[in-house]
């Protein structure tokens, strides 16, 4: 098991390096001068050159990458062009908010996804199955940013039950005053993972139930509950993998929902970085999110190996 984990980590290193390279290059595929947004339109050439030197944009590309990577490894992602503050600090503050939202949404989405999936897989071809299939296909086909708007219309504008945007006054705390701000974005965000998890689990449970080992278990006289335990045990590795991946997608894909709800997370940060053409901030945010995703994939792999004895041997 330890060897397996070590192997996975070693394999992840080149991926991390390549991810860093892609993030770095993003700035350099961007058209125009990265300084354009901070320089006054009538700036002298001397001032522009001085700024360029300060940000290190005058060095050759590989050198810039080397310096950037070296600094990134030490937790320094440079300075935001727009605010002049440390990118690392800005990103870390935002990541906390995004994590809170994504984890809450996952808990909701996975709980309902698992419940629906298991029910539909067990009662295959019944009305429950058809209902769940409809719900899940609706979930994955729904433009979630639009769902967010509709929820705001219904629960904020018409009913006035919940606040429409933001995170509440002052710092975050787990009281109703703040939690009510989390409800709508979290529900909106949970729709896609719910659809995908219920779809996957339905197929898994359905397939497993039709396999011969289940017939053998029933023939042995096992109670239906015990048979079901066996089925769930076999479905677990794949379900865990799908859920881990979904959590990663939520982290990286939160930008649309954070924009709808003005939730001050990484997506919101990304949005302002894009529109202020704050390239170091854009670069840093994407790098951090991508690294989260790589690490999450790693954890999923290891977790899968831990619960599925077949993987360790391979």
């Amino acid at each position: 098991m330890l060897v397996y984990i070590a192997k996975r980590i070693v394999f992840a290193i080149p991926v991390v390096f390549a991810v860093a390279l892609v993030c770095f290059l993003l700035v350099h595929i961007a058209p125009g001068d990265p300084l354009i947004s901070v320089l006054p339109p009538d700036a002298s050439q001397a001032l522009a050159d001085q700024m360029r030197r300060e940000y290190g944009f005058d060095r050759p590309l590989p050198v810039q990458f080397g310096i950037w990577l070296w600094n990134a490894l030490h937790g320094n992602l440079g300075l935001s062009i727009a605010s002049g503050r440390s990118v690392t600090e800005e990103v870390l503050r935002a990541v906390g908010n995004t994590l809170m939202l994504a984890v809450t949404a996952s808990v909701i989405g996975f709980a309902f996804g698992l419940l629906f999936g298991i029910l539909a897989g067990y009662y295959r071809d019944s009305w429950i199955d058809r209902l769940v299939t409809t719900i899940s296909i609706t979930g994955v086909s729904m433009p979630h940013y639009w769902l967010g708007m509709v929820l705001v219309i219904v629960f904020s504008v018409i009913l006035g039950w919940l606040p429409a945007v933001g995170m509440g006054p002052g710092g975050w705390s787990w009281d109703w005053e703040h939690i009510q701000y989390l409800i709508l974005p979290a529900i909106t965000m949970s729709v896609i993972p719910m659809g995908i998890v219920s779809r996957t689990v339905r197929a898994l449970v359905g397939d497993l139930l039709s396999q011969e080992f289940v017939l053998a278990l029933r023939a042995k006289g096992l109670s239906e509950a015990r048979v079901f335990q066996h089925v769930l045990k076999n479905a677990a590795p794949t379900a865990v993998a799908v859920m881990g991946l979904q959590l990663g997608y939520l982290l990286g894909g939160s930008i649309l929902i954070e924009t709808v709800f003005s939730w001050p997370g990484t997506g919101f940060l990304l949005n302002s970085a894009i529109f202020q053409r704050d390239l170091p901030l854009l670069q840093g945010t994407i790098l951090v999110l991508a690294l989260f995703f790589v690490v999450l994939n790693l954890i999923v792999d290891v977790a899968q190996a831990a619960i599925d004895p077949r993987i360790k041997r391979a």
Binding site: P14, V15, V16, A18, V19, V22, C23, L26, V27, I29, A30, P31, G32, I137, T138, V140, S141, M142, P143, H144, Y145, W146, L147, M149, V150, V152, I153, V157, I158, G248, Y249, L251, G252, G253, I255, L256, T259, V260, L270, N271, A273, I274, F275, L279, L282, I286, L289, A290, F293, V294, N297
Partner: protein, 295 residues
């Protein structure tokens, strides 16, 4: 001894069997859900194409005195938007750009991804390693993040969002194409074709392509729905189309301020995205089961 023996009685009359794709189409047409989705999509596409001849209001012509009229206003059955433009007209015209930036990336990614995947799967070895390891890097980014990152770095614009979406959908198609090709390549009929002295290109054309394109195509159709949502999403963020072009995602964005005044009009563009997306999803599912020979 006669070589004509008993095990040959089974099949029926001596008619020429229909081709494989004709059979798929026949099964697809028997599925009411698929047919309904196809009709809805066809109507939306036709309306978008024929928009100038449908006698609609000018989608760009606004009016300060008739802003945000509700649904059901005489002359404006779906109301008007925040600049007083006719919603029905903008929704119909909006289908043009929305469908274009929602479909083209999947089409392009299908062409490029299939080529790369088939090459990786068929040639194998170092070529496979080179292609697949590069693809792995893109897999380290969640798709929305990757699309936003590329679009964001390149700046807003239709071409840039087409480009970023194409890049996002190439890796998954390459993976599917590679695995399908690898499994087909190892089947005995490919060996049998090699044993009859056929060249690599002939084998690829006659024996590999026909067996891998179907599954890859079905997979690609399942991506259309995601791409529609993502493409409209980029416009929603302000990264795709620019105002005043009618495009569903962008319309949704500009109408966000109107949800306190006329919420249901503001939600309309999202309904269109949702309908198109769910129809493509259901149609893709229908196609998948119609292609399953065993059923």
């Amino acid at each position: 001894m006669s070589v004509i023996t008993q095990d040959i009685v089974q099949p029926g009359p001596a008619t020429r069997t229909r081709g494989y794709w004709a059979g798929v189409l026949r099964r697809l047409v028997r599925d009411p859900v698929s047919v309904a989705c196809a009709i809805v999509l066809l109507l939306i596409v036709l309306a978008a194409i024929l928009a100038p001849w449908l006698g609609l209001h000018d989608p760009y012509q606004g009016s300060m005195i008739r802003r945000l009229r509700p649904i059901g206003t005489p002359g404006y059955p779906l109301g008007t938007d925040e600049l007083g433009r006719d919603m029905l007209s903008r929704l119909v015209y909006g289908g043009r750009l929305t469908l274009y930036i929602g479909l083209l990336p999947v089409g392009l990614a299908f062409l490029i991804g299939t080529s790369l995947g088939i090459i990786a799967g068929y040639v194998g070895g170092l070529v496979n390693q080179a292609i697949m390891r590069t693809i792995d890097v893109f897999y380290a980014f969640p798709s929305v993040l990757l699309a936003v990152a590329i679009s964001g770095a390149l700046g807003a614009g239709i071409f840039n969002s087409l480009l970023s979406l194409t890049i996002v959908f190439i890796p998954p198609i390459v993976r599917v194409a590679e695995s399908v090709t690898t499994s087909v390549r190892s089947l005995d009929f490919v060996d049998a074709a090699r044993a009859s002295g056929a060249g690599q290109l002939t084998i690829m054309r006659v024996h590999v392509l026909g067996n891998v394109l179907g599954p890859i195509f079905v997979y690609a159709t399942s991506l259309i729905s995601v791409c529609m949502i993502l493409a409209a999403g980029l416009s929603f963020l302000g990264l795709g189309t620019k105002p005043p072009e009618p495009e569903w995602g962008l319309m949704l964005n500009t109408l966000r301020t109107a949800i306190y005044i006329n919420p249901w009009v503001a939600a309309l563009p999202g309904v269109m995205i949702f309908v198109v997306s769910i129809c493509f999803n259901l149609l893709s599912d229908g196609l998948r089961s119609a292609m399953d020979v065993r059923s």
